[in-house]
């Protein structure tokens, strides 16, 4: 979700195989650089493979360009990587959240599993509970929220949505990205 010169990204931390929970501390939100956060939902193996692939690509980018990648460019990179497997896709839904440019404009991007991008101004959702998330985010979202309020709204949205979704929950983590840095907090959710 986007706020006033800040973005927040939140996700649950359950790792399960269909209806069986295996682990409660899997992290699916990754820091690309100080301006970009990248979250993925979907098949765990593809999340790990793509995480390693993007880490490699970003390291190479930093060395060649001698600067950090901007969130918009990274989003396009993600889309290209996913479309390159158009007929044998990675089964993930990525979300990119970042602060773009000199004046730290919030940037949000969501793509589908084959890289079709959308750039909403307010919020993006993904995962098994995406319909619930969409509904509750639509209700609670306001424009130009400060970081503290943004954190509250994002947390409450995530908590409400995972309560309804059987496959989500078992702990959650919320990252708030401002120009001063990233604040990370863990929340307790329903464990069922």
């Amino acid at each position: 979700m986007a706020g006033k010169n800040c973005v927040a990204i939140a996700g649950d931390t359950r790792f399960g195989v269909r209806n069986q929970t295996v682990a409660l501390d899997s992290n699916r939100i990754f820091k690309i650089n100080n301006r970009t956060l990248f979250g993925m939902t979907g098949l765990n193996t593809d999340i790990l493979t793509l995480r390693e692939s993007f880490k490699f690509q970003m390291n190479l980018y930093n060395l060649e360009e001698e600067r950090e990648i901007s969130p918009k460019t990274f989003a396009h990179n993600v889309a290209q990587t996913l479309y390159s497997k158009r007929f044998g896709p990675y089964f993930i839904t990525p979300i990119i959240a970042g602060l773009e440019g000199e004046d730290y404009t919030p940037f949000l991007c969501a793509t589908d599993l084959i890289g079709a991008m959308e750039f909403p101004k307010s919020f993006v959702v993904a995962g098994t509970g995406e319909e619930s998330l969409m509904g509750v985010c639509e209700t609670f979202y306001k424009e130009n929220m400060e970081p503290e309020e943004l954190f509250e709204v994002v947390s409450q949205c995530l908590l409400a949505a995972v309560d309804r979704d059987a496959l989500s929950g078992w702990g959650s983590v919320v990252h708030v990205l401002t120009k001063d840095g990233i604040t990370t907090k863990r929340l307790r959710t329903r464990k069922d």
């Binding site: 069986q20 899997s26 098949l43 765990n44 193996t45 790990l48 493979t49």
Partner: protein
């Protein structure tokens, strides 16, 4: 059909697997060791297709060995887990290996044991306790309730037997015989080969 259970204790990792090898409804072998040593301080517990398990575990063991020969240093458990995961992830879309694994290892550098859950798709997760196969459905809740950080070896063994007792009692597919192995700073040791019969008064017999 295969049951694998593992958890991390105080400076050790305890792993157990049933010793049945079967195909469809038939039990081919009753003393099949599913906990293969990768090197002196790591065990790969395999479940799934027997052939795939053999081939894939051989691949991992030989490559870990090659790394040690080339670089004169042992790989950490984390590195072996990542390597194994990468092999499974590249194979899944080409020539899938139907093996689900538990990788347990003790690292002398950190003086800690670690356990990894790896499945045939290439998912990987570092866990404190876990199981593969049908056993996971029974044993998951027992471990949730009774596992604690830094369990002593005696308490750990008791907990493991509690889990295996449950698997023998409630899993409709007969698995009586289990092999328990431990990894600690001294290496891999076979703790016990247990035979569990929940109908008898003295449920657990040790077999040597």
């Amino acid at each position: 059909m295969d049951s694998l259970v593992g958890f991390v204790g105080k400076n050790y990792v305890l792993m157990a697997g049933d010793t049945n090898a079967g195909r469809s409804i038939m039990r081919l072998k009753e003393d099949f060791d599913k906990l293969v040593p990768v090197d002196s301080h790591k065990i790969l517990a395999k479940s799934g297709e027997i052939g795939d398990g053999n081939q894939f575990c051989n691949l991992i063991i030989r490559n870990v060995s090659l790394y040690r020969i080339n670089n004169e240093t042992e790989l950490s458990t984390k590195s072996v887990a990542h390597y194994t995961r990468r092999q499974l992830a590249t194979a899944i879309r080409k020539n899938p290996y139907s093996v689900n694994l538990l990788l347990g290892g003790y690292d002398k550098k950190d003086q800690k044991g670690s356990l990894y859950y790896l499945d045939y798709l290439g998912s990987s997760k570092k866990i404190n306790y876990g199981a593969q196969g049908y056993a996971a459905l029974f044993v998951g809740s027992i471990l949730d309730r009774f596992w604690k950080e830094d369990l002593d070896f005696e308490d750990g063994l008791e907990l493991m037997k509690k889990c295996l007792r449950e698997v023998e009692k409630r899993l409709i597919i007969g698995t009586r015989c289990f092999l328990i192995k431990m990894i600690n700073s001294d290496g891999i040791a076979v703790v016990e080969k247990v035979m569990i019969n929940s109908k008898k008064k003295n449920e657990i017999e040790e077999e040597n």
